[in-house]
Symmetry: C2
Subunit: 605 residues, 2 copies
Amino acid sequence: MPAYKAPLRDMNFVIHELLEAEKIFQTLPSYEEATEDLIGAIIEEGAKFAEEVLSPLNQSGDEEGCSWSEGEVTTPQGFADAYRQYVENGWPSLSANVESGGQGMPNLLSSVINEMAGTANWSWLMYPGLSLGAVNTVEAHGDAEQKDSYLKKLVTGEWTGTMCLTEAQCGSDLGLLRTKAEPQADGTYAVTGTKIFISAGEHDMAENIVHIVLARLPDAPAGTKGISLFIVPKFKVNEDGSLGEHNNVHCASIEKKMGIKASATCVMNFDGATGYLIGPPNKGLSCMFTFMNTARIGTAIQGIAAAELAFQNSLAYAKERRSMHPLSGPKSAEHVADTIINHPDVRRMLLKQKAIAEGGRAMLYDAAMLADRTAYAIDEKELSEIDDKLGFLTPILKGFFTELGIEAANDGMQVFGGHGYIKEWGMEQIARDVRISSLYEGTTGIQGLDLLGRKVILDGFKQFRAYNKRIRSFYTRYIFSSAYRWKMLRFIWPLIAYQLRWYIVLLTILLKARKNRDAVGVSTYDFLMYSGFMTTAFYWAMMAHKAMEKLDKGGDEPAEYYRAKIETATFYFERMLPRAKAHAAIISGSLESVVALDEADFSFE
Amino acid sequence: MPAYKAPLRDMNFVIHELLEAEKIFQTLPSYEEATEDLIGAIIEEGAKFAEEVLSPLNQSGDEEGCSWSEGEVTTPQGFADAYRQYVENGWPSLSANVESGGQGMPNLLSSVINEMAGTANWSWLMYPGLSLGAVNTVEAHGDAEQKDSYLKKLVTGEWTGTMCLTEAQCGSDLGLLRTKAEPQADGTYAVTGTKIFISAGEHDMAENIVHIVLARLPDAPAGTKGISLFIVPKFKVNEDGSLGEHNNVHCASIEKKMGIKASATCVMNFDGATGYLIGPPNKGLSCMFTFMNTARIGTAIQGIAAAELAFQNSLAYAKERRSMHPLSGPKSAEHVADTIINHPDVRRMLLKQKAIAEGGRAMLYDAAMLADRTAYAIDEKELSEIDDKLGFLTPILKGFFTELGIEAANDGMQVFGGHGYIKEWGMEQIARDVRISSLYEGTTGIQGLDLLGRKVILDGFKQFRAYNKRIRSFYTRYIFSSAYRWKMLRFIWPLIAYQLRWYIVLLTILLKARKNRDAVGVSTYDFLMYSGFMTTAFYWAMMAHKAMEKLDKGGDEPAEYYRAKIETATFYFERMLPRAKAHAAIISGSLESVVALDEADFSFE
């Protein structure tokens, strides 16, 4: 069974040493309490919960799966009880706003807790995780009554929430959605339609479920401009706050899936269900979009979590399993075969997983801190600026780290050889579970389009330039005037070269797009991947620099951690970053190589 | 449910037009009958069997899986019946030697039949597929009596066979194996030990199972030099050929796996089972090695099969599913959204799957024809020469095309978006099933070591140079003096450039290895992948050239097929081959970036 031990040392390094989080938190109102000690205590509690409560339910949850009977969904044994503890310990409200009943702690902290919970048991995390969209929606767009009825219970976790977007005929293209909402005499709406892929749409873990449903008013314009949001609770809420009758919303079935089997993926039938309009009519999609970043960053965690879990378990196996000697000769004279960690090719796979998990963690926490700053922006201008910065990082985090997380999980399996394919070891579960991450919350293709289309080109390259400026100011300010000039050279040179190529790649696409805009579409994937390798290199360079500083300062900390950090950075730069070159080379390929083939000629019998 | 339609047009192109198989077959004794007509008729029959009998059992087989009860294994419904038809129609003996009761048809034909059967239902193919090792072993090393007792029934498929190599403590490192064989007074041996991962070790499809077991004699030297081969039949065979008592070999359990669930992966207990020594004592491993190529090429088929099946089904979906418009604008005015095949990023994924399936097919058939030539080598020298050629291609085919097959299956899922994750569509099954292919029959790491270590360096670069000569003679002889000089330039230039880099990459490794032999080990994966991209480029260039010739000749053939071939070649060269650059760049990285990190410092809590 895969074991999970929260990598507290690395988490603390990123939070306190790399990002110097509390220094920044203390400049934000209401975050003053987020001292290093408090943050440390909360994370340790969270680690304990993840390791001791959630992790043991991961494999059994996969084996058991969810079951459906007459509209009711039963989650695997232990899931509901773990959720009860989660609510009792106040985890759901950790970083919710104080006025909504939350504890007002930084988002960063929630991300850390989610990372640990999700690494231990991603399927389980889906239940509380999906509430976030509902909380955000009610908080931002609900009226006083709606907040009173729904928000507090969602924040405490007594109730959970869902986002009901997808329908059978429409996934990313929400303009095609058909669910309708007809106004009733009492001011409510009768919501009718079928939604699919609704995670946590039905379960046995909370007494009520608050669905946020995308639907069309009768007079709504076609396409995405005619979508409104509705609150549709599973049980109607009486005026005194008690639960009333069951609404006309039912779970028709749950999907059989490749993985995350303990997470109920529901087909939800709304059959004239009572709904309450939330936010302005026909503006549903733009209301939704404000939370898109949060949801997508949440999904990025899944990639990082898979890399971490695969790494921890394949590392343990590689230190125990013996097979042959490396070509340089036996490493232990007393054994007929060496442990496989001595084989360079196995080390390559271990270091890759490590570099993905730790690189992703750094970028994730950096993004989470941006999210914290949006909450306390002094004016709209600052808000939108920070939001744009976050918007730029989001598709990279989501797209790149889910793709790399899938790779890492497969590398973890690969270290186990044939045993990796056997359920008992749990490695194949990691690979199956994480496979969804590049599909939901917008496929990698959608992330690529979002990055290159919206966040770079339609943004007028503002955030692209701003991020590059940040990279430049890192290597000019810290490096060329620092004591680490020479030691850092092996990171700085590639950083400069790949950064230059990032511009060239973008220019190449833009030039081609002048002739045919599909030149953008054909390069979205490769541009996304290039951007991922590039930005991750930046975080690895920063981490290496920080580790060098810490090493020189000496102190109580064992030096091994910092040395390992520098060596992993070296691995990343020498053995992962070069993959960006392939993406750049592919972008220089012709559009015709992809679009010339006639649809009818793709196959012949 | 994923459908399968045998790509007969493409198979015929490779067999008759690209490789001109019958011209070559007619120079080989006993293959004269392999005329284009006969080959065509056999392939069409095989296609029908794959499409109509095997394909419908693929998804149900996955759902049902195998079940174990008191040593007996029940295969999914329909499997045994399909096997009965397979035997009745004489498929097992198709390319077996005439003197062993076979039909003596070319190996190429078996590869084609296996490709079709395996694409339709890989789990099913594992049952007859695994017999091959046993057939080869008895044929090459069995005495007259052993041949009489076992070979004919194996060849007809009435009985199936297994290869019992792996034990819990030893996979690739067979030197660690512990199963022992003690000589008995009657000349037999008592075989005792536990073997794991025995595919088709027990099932309900044939009346007897012939296990070829690797074990140690009491006085055997340690390590790989003390391994002998034994025939251990499930039921002992009486002198008159009838079946006697059940031998002391039993299936203790079957594994729960990520995929190929309809294939029984057995733990086999040998408890003083009666075994018969086959081949010279202590030479078991070298006896085995002669068939390693065949078994590994068999596994390569799985990667190609997955790419083909994923391609066919994601193509069909991409032509039906509608979502948004490409950036260049709507393609069909009457619909609010275009079919997703119009999105360049979806096309990219489709073309990638196509390029892998068709490129792999060309290399596979080329290798199968080499295997045919080994059967009729005029002397030992020619035999060993052809065998070496095949040996060079084998790890590339196995390592590269299983890795790329896994990618292709994932791309196929990705085209389906969230639906790809749902069992109903069958795409996730392809991804789960093919995942084993880079793990069994030697992991990708082992293939890389085999290629770079044994087949390139220890071979003294003979086959590496010979293959490169073949590439050079293609582009010099055919191109620079052909009418296609200019049209072929876009393939020939990269071919020359990547070929040059192939040499440089190898030289780089060799220079580093002079200081530390681990420089070989650290580069095995990237060298393998580089070699895969390089050799596949060669096949794509040859196919493009052949298609140009055919296009010019005109004739009855519709031109679309050839144009599609050229356009897919263009896609491969512009959008896949550049990935080789990344592998080359990674090889130039330092050994220290992988081996410097102390084992103890890989992780910190």
